[in-house]
Symmetry: D2
Subunit: 346 residues, 4 copies
């Protein structure tokens, strides 16, 4: 069987490298071109010894491919993606540049005017568990942010069922790789090892994504999201702890209510191959290196609050793995192709 | 000046060792007796090379001391402390055995009937920022739990001022040393390294402590606390992110409200030597090895939620350091004696 | 194609779980039976949520399989393996019980008399880079220890070429997972995080393995190995730094000598799919989760010492991955089958 | 008692901050002036919240002080120190600029011509255990490097006693803070977490320091040092494993030889308050945050090699703590003043 040729724009960040790793183990596609400004004209295997199996040179211009992943930062990504879309190359953009439907969100949250607002209508938010059929027919997919992936998957069933008040708190704990490969004091080993901190309390850029998607599921009322991200001293993984107040009369009391809640989640994600509804509080390690999202919905016996915990590997289900999952849908191959390796434990 | 002789019951856990470290650098007291079941009759310096400066043998029975710290687990601690109190030895109990005023809480939360319920009335909850004068005259101080210390200090000013609705969410992230020195799979390095998880969602034992103390500050309404602890891969530190809804009309809108909130916190903790109100989201590393609690109160511009973050070193302000602070008050020496060393950075 | 049925004895340790993970992604074999004393009769997916894809119950007795991996501790493993071998089931023993040719080494190093010394002659030391053809025809393969794998692969080319004096120093740094899943103070998170220590200076059990295999390559003189293992605060990976003195006249001086040395290594490992000779000092992270062994041979310009550094993932090339590699050879399928996934980075 | 005024040049690196922390807890000196290019004119407490007790502004020019610590990088430090020495201010230079006696070593190892070679004769190598009296009368002390501190202290007794062959191997494992606060890919959290690597195999700049000092102790023969530093994923600590061959006839065989060796070390470091000769392999954690150096000398029963392990906190005994120890000697105050706090455990 002939493999589909795909490319990666900006392979030199963590998402780019992870895409290369996942493509290598994919039965249907082949990595045929990679670009990267900081390391142009070097061998990929020289810059990343982990990728020594590839005989590719990092190029300045993308070669001939059928589908491309952009792993560029926001603002720059849109610029590179727009001409590709016009050339009928399928695009999966891992930046934020096509995630938000409202063009005004770009100056508000990202500080730039969107260069192709007309494409925002066409772009599909690439969360396959919610938008599978649209993704399958899309030519431009906006791969969700890492925090939104975990948070939306955690709350979607409750919001869709109209189970909770609109006021939702999302407290997320992320490994450091989410901050990328760019050097900063807040990713300097001695600063973050043996440390935890919250950041972006004035409003994180992933907040409008979370709000947009949960609102789509909540026709009767707008969600009011409080989102607090934290950095913890590990490389990979995001655990989001989500708090919501159940609307009265929607769930039974006591353990029966918890069972109803869990049944709701199991039904919502029936046939979704990468979602696992857990019976016990999950660990991010249970997703390490894999495309799984583990979701644990429960109710506090003391306060009655609905608490939903989700765990993902931020670089797989939160980035490159989800991009591959989107690609599979766009190419009409099985959704799980190339994504079946198990979490690495311990 | 003659130093006061103090002892440690069960020196062989992390709180016990940390007490020994802090006593060693204290100008007014001297460690003259230590006990420990698992290592009785061994030299302290043999079991803990870090404590090689002490020429003490771990004994089965405590020697002659004026004040004792109990670092025993709950249930066992009460048994050992009761006879000491009756012998007029001042006691600072680092277990939960005298923290809860209501005797019924012990069977409910800890699974045993309290052996000395009459002492629960006398025992003082040893959070010096709230109960300074009572501690100064107490003969039995219940040293608070690590989570309650950070959580109560974070929310006390808001609750006392009647600023918030009773429904409060406390999302805490703790280093692994809080789980002690006892071997468990959940403290096994390869299990917790590169991992984060929530636990005790059915109700953590520190919840009634937090509720009791915040309710004392909130005469008009009972607080409804949702408390979720998490384990993160570091040794020391607890960061608690607390969420509450401001009652309408209590704070101005926008940045002015944030300023009012911060002023309220600064006023509340005026003259409290170990509390620092921060201008930026704090890091647990900024408290590492020290008795400081850093508190950052703010308001989410998007949701209007009050968010208060507190950071402590769980073994110092969350345990041994706070016990020394209590001892200082009980002995009538300066509150900061022996506790003035700075956080270790990085 | 029909898959070969294989089993794992004692799946409940880290090597057992890693074997299951690797078998799951293997195209030619299927995991059909697992045993484990500590969790018998439980679902595998219940004990290890990471393995939720398997619908297997942990049994007390192994089912019908063609090849079995034993992940039991030494002494116990031999007892279980001997009857299997007699039933003509191919056995790959991940313990030390068949690694040493000399029966006397077992009482000396492991404290027990070997129950089947006659099998020691038959058993093949399962380091495929050295014993490929013997492994292919073996019915009992002794999977090497983690430290010996890295150390022997690092020094084999120099020793075989008669390049160095017999006096060799091997200084190894290992992640904590090498100590297994059994709870000990030396694998308790708060003890080993932010810590490094050496251990077994009186003689580590892997020393006779290293000596045995290097001596086999060194007909003229016996090697005199000094081996010091260290524990460092990470989960996976072993880096071994090996020091030897070049015999005079064997290598050119200066950079030319380094080139000759590297050529020797490249030639020695030509066509070995899991060995990579590096141009720069390697990182264990470059092997994380993969079956690669990276080797960096060089010469100190100041002292003239030959220094060879090797990196492996202790649970893959140092245990389960190598066992799969051995299985591939024993079953006559490609050596790399099921082992082609790339290292996970970062 | 009036406190001596001291200053820190370049307080904004890890050594500078650690100096400030240690000075704060010192009974005899007071920090009265700090400089730092990257943060000039900012409040010290703003840049480092850990140092909030200081009411100091980071200045461009040092104020009036009696003794100064330079925490500048090499080459820049000499330039700033030379005029201070000429103004009769005592200087403790934490850079390499006055450590090497031979001016030619600077172009060879550091790539610059020394601006004040005449001062190299006067400068005292600030390892108090070897040069106590010279330090006491010095006006310029070169504070040793972190690796040399551990390595020299480990091998000095053996070399001084003429016990070993000149060929010595030093394999060191360091926490990441040794690489400083400057951002680099090799100190980026996601790169070094779960990783170990060797570096500077072509010759580390600390090698000539180690060689110089060991040669001073070895009049009959020059030492031939092989030194390999490694980075391991922790913030603080250096463990050095040193290997040497005993000269025949110098030590008894078996356990008696080990006892003789340990007695030699105990005698050599008698009355040295920061050296502890251990009975068991030491852990860097046993020195964490303290000025201790723990040394464990032994002999491999298999190979007969002398193995000496030393542990220090690289930022205390390996940098700032040793600088304070030097200051104490230079000011004629007790050697241990301000340095008596115990290691922080766990």
């Amino acid at each position: 069987m002939k493999k589909t040729k795909v490319g990666i724009i900006n392979v030199t960040g963590y998402v780019g490298v992870e895409l290369a790793r996942l493509i290598y183990q994919h039965p249907n596609v082949e990595l045929s071109s990679v670009t990267g400004r900081s390391a142009a004209r070097q061998k990929l295997s020289k810059v990343f010894p982990q990728l020594s199996v590839f005989d590719l040179t990092i190029e300045e211009e993308l070669g001939d491919v059928e589908l491309v992943f952009s792993a560029l930062p926001h603002k720059e990504s849109a610029k590179e993606c727009v001409p590709l879309i016009k050339k009928s190359i399928k695009v999966i953009d891992c930046s934020a540049d096509f995630r938000l439907n409202n063009p005004q969100d770009y100056p508000n949250w990202y500080g730039f005017t969107h260069p192709a607002p007309e494409l925002l209508k066409e772009a599909v938010f690439g969360l396959p568990e919610l938008h599978q059929s649209k993704i399958a027919s899309a030519r431009l997919v906006a791969n969700p942010g890492c925090y939104p992936t975990g948070a939306i998957l955690a709350m979607a069933p409750s919001v869709k069922a109209g189970l909770v008040e609109p006021d939702i708190i999302i407290d997320s704990k992320s490994g450091i790789s989410g901050a990328g490969r760019t050097l900063t004091l807040s990713t300097h080993f001695s600063e973050v090892n043996e440390d935890v901190s919250a950041y972006a309390l004035e409003g994180h850029r992933h907040l409008p994504e979370i709000t947009q998607e949960l609102n789509l599921l909540s026709p009767k009322q707008k969600c009011l999201i409080t989102f607090t991200p934290h950095l913890i001293p590990m490389t990979r993984g995001i655990l989001s702890t989500c708090y919501a107040t159940p609307l009265s009369g929607k769930l039974a009391g006591g353990k029966k209510g918890v069972e109803e809640l869990r049944q709701l989640y199991s039904d919502f994600y029936k046939d979704k191959p990468f979602i696992r509804i857990a019976n016990e509080p999950p660990h991010t390690k249970q997703t390490w290196g894999s495309n799984f999202c583990i979701i644990y919905p429960t109710i506090s016996p003391q306060s009655g609050k609905i608490i939903v915990i989700s765990c993902i590997d931020n670089l797989v289900k939160g980035a490159a793995g989800q991009a591959i999952q989107n690609m599979n849908l766009m190419l009409g191959i099985p959704e799980t192709a190339g994504l079946q390796s198990l979490p690495v434990y311990p």
